[in-house]
């Protein structure tokens, strides 16, 4: 850590709105890749925090949302300053989790309850690349017929873990995949077939 802190959103209100719409679009059209373009100036969060993942955290997290992240002390300090979010050590306590390395097991995160399935975690996963039109075949709410999404850099056994997550519906976690300034979402309703 150098002791200096890079800036957050240049236009807090407008940038947060733009990012939220990208996340909302991603969540309501699973597998469609959104780009967080047009931020002024572009976010430069401390490595290994990517631009999209950092923007999502700034948009959604605050003092009310415990955050778990594995991106190191500089990223924690950055998030604590800009979002004011409490950083927790136990993945099960977090509302938002950011994994730049291997993520914690999906079943160990907050799943919500049958009566309150919305009290579940959102996992933000940094991956190497996101491409539409190839790879997984996605179906479910938000998808007219099928969307195709290729995700590079996921941990071993992710597809099986996701299957388990989907089986817990209406409980379960929601996933945001981020690569640089690109972003796609898999809500808990999305079914995934390996194409």
């Amino acid at each position: 850590m150098t002791g200096t802190l890079t800036a957050g959103f240049g236009e807090p209100v407008l940038d947060a709105q733009r990012c939220f719409r990208a996340v909302l679009d991603a969540m309501s059209r699973p597998g469609r890749v959104q780009r967080l373009a047009g931020l002024s100036p572009p976010l430069a969060p401390p490595a290994p925090l990517g631009a999209a993942a950092a923007a999502v955290l700034l948009t959604l997290s605050d003092a009310d949302t415990p955050v778990w992240l594995d991106a190191g002390a500089a990223a924690e300090a950055w998030l604590r300053f800009h979002a004011g979010a409490p950083i927790v050590a136990a993945p099960a306590e977090a509302a938002f989790l950011l994994a730049s390395g291997p993520p914690p097991a999906l079943r160990d995160l907050a799943q919500g309850t049958d009566e309150e399935p919305h009290r579940s975690a959102t996992l933000i996963l940094e991956v190497a690349a996101l491409e539409e039109g190839d790879g997984w075949r996605l179906t479910g709410p938000g998808i007219e017929h099928a969307h195709w999404l290729r995700v590079t850099g996921l941990p071993e056994g992710f597809a099986a873990a996701w299957q388990g997550n989907r089986a817990r519906f209406p409980c379960g976690i929601d996933l945001l995949l981020c690569a640089g300034d690109r972003l796609a979402a898999l809500p808990r309703t999305t079914a995934l077939e390996i194409g």
């Binding site: 890079t6 957050g8 209100v13 709105q17 909302l24 605050d62 509302a95 309150e116 519906f169």
Partner: protein, 306 residues
């Protein structure tokens, strides 16, 4: 480091800067979209969970708005959390763009968010609605925001919230089926012409807000995103695009949308939903389209053709 560091979430210093900018017509002294950033984040988190669990009611910390409950405070808060400078807003009240409620809400967002407004369904990116779905089919990328007075479909059958929560958890909707059955036993048909309960994604029973049952089929696999806000009851729920929305019915009594058997007196439509207008005190009445944009577009088309 030369760039000034600002805390993104505090709001105060950055907010002040914002207040004096914005397009002409936008008033100063309020944050963009009226709500403060903390409230918007809370609503945005609720919206994302609502989209992830189609039809499930997510509680949120509904704020006091500059208009009373029942005038669309839930819908306004949802719209305020979603809307941005690139959006074009349309607001309808029972299908009409020119009623007090619709005009006030449109003006409100023109003032506090500086957004463009329209009365054309096709030109809008966000449509806030009270009790109707526009006749013009919505397309991908549009957002339909419903103002919801009572989000709980089981409310008239079971007033205890703790009980209805458990019923949703267990997907136990037998009460509603019994209610529909009793309708058939008494009246020979399901006597529900508006607020007709629907199943979303085959899992959650949902109140479609009091839209006429005529509009229910439009919710099924709609390409647009549907968001629901109930301000007084403090609930948000959603239906993502292309999601199954089925009106409850029985095999031998299938769901039938209700429509007045008449043609619109202004545009002649036999497909649109009609309002009955009493014209005198001698029993005179006429039927006109409830959707004013649809009706005026058709009238203009007929005039052009003549």
């Amino acid at each position: 480091m030369t760039a000034p560091i600002r805390s993104a979430q505090g709001g105060a210093p950055a907010g002040v800067e914002h207040r004096n900018r914005g397009p002409a017509g936008q008033i100063s002294g309020y944050n963009v979209g009226y709500l403060d950033e903390n409230t918007k984040r809370m609503i945005r988190r609720a919206l994302l969970k609502a989209v992830a669990i189609p039809g499930h009611q997510v509680p949120f910390g509904s704020r006091e708005m500059p208009l009373p409950y029942g005038w669309g405070t839930g819908g306004i808060q949802v719209t305020a959390a979603v809307i941005g400078p690139g959006d074009t807003l349309k607001v309808i009240d029972q299908g009409a763009d020119d009623t007090t409620n619709a005009v006030s809400i449109r003006r409100f967002f023109a003032k506090v968010a500086g957004v463009a407004t329209t009365e054309r369904t096709a030109a809008a990116s966000i449509i806030q609605t009270r009790h109707r779905i526009p006749e013009t089919p919505l397309r991908e990328g549009q957002v339909l925001v419903y103002q919801v007075p009572m989000p709980e479909p089981l409310f008239r059958l079971e007033p205890r919230v703790a009980e209805t929560k458990r019923m949703h958890a267990l997907a136990d909707y037998s009460l509603m089926h019994v209610k529909l059955y009793e309708d058939i036993a008494r009246h020979g048909h399901i006597a529900t012409s508006y607020n007709y309960p629907v199943m979303v994604g085959g899992r959650y029973l949902m109140s479609p807000s009091p839209i006429p049952s005529f509009d229910n089929p439009k919710m099924h696999r709609m390409p647009a995103l549907q968001l629901f806000g109930a301000g007084r009851e403090k609930r948000i729920y959603a239906v993502p695009p292309y999601t199954d929305v089925r009106s409850l019915d029985f095999e031998d009594h299938p769901f039938e949308p209700i429509r007045a058997d008449a043609a619109c007196a202004l545009c002649g439509s036999r497909e649109s939903y009609l309002d009955e207008v009493v014209t005198d005190d001698a029993g005179g009445r006429m039927f006109v389209c409830s959707d004013t944009d649809y009706c005026t577009t058709r009238q203009a088309g007929r005039e052009a053709a003549e």
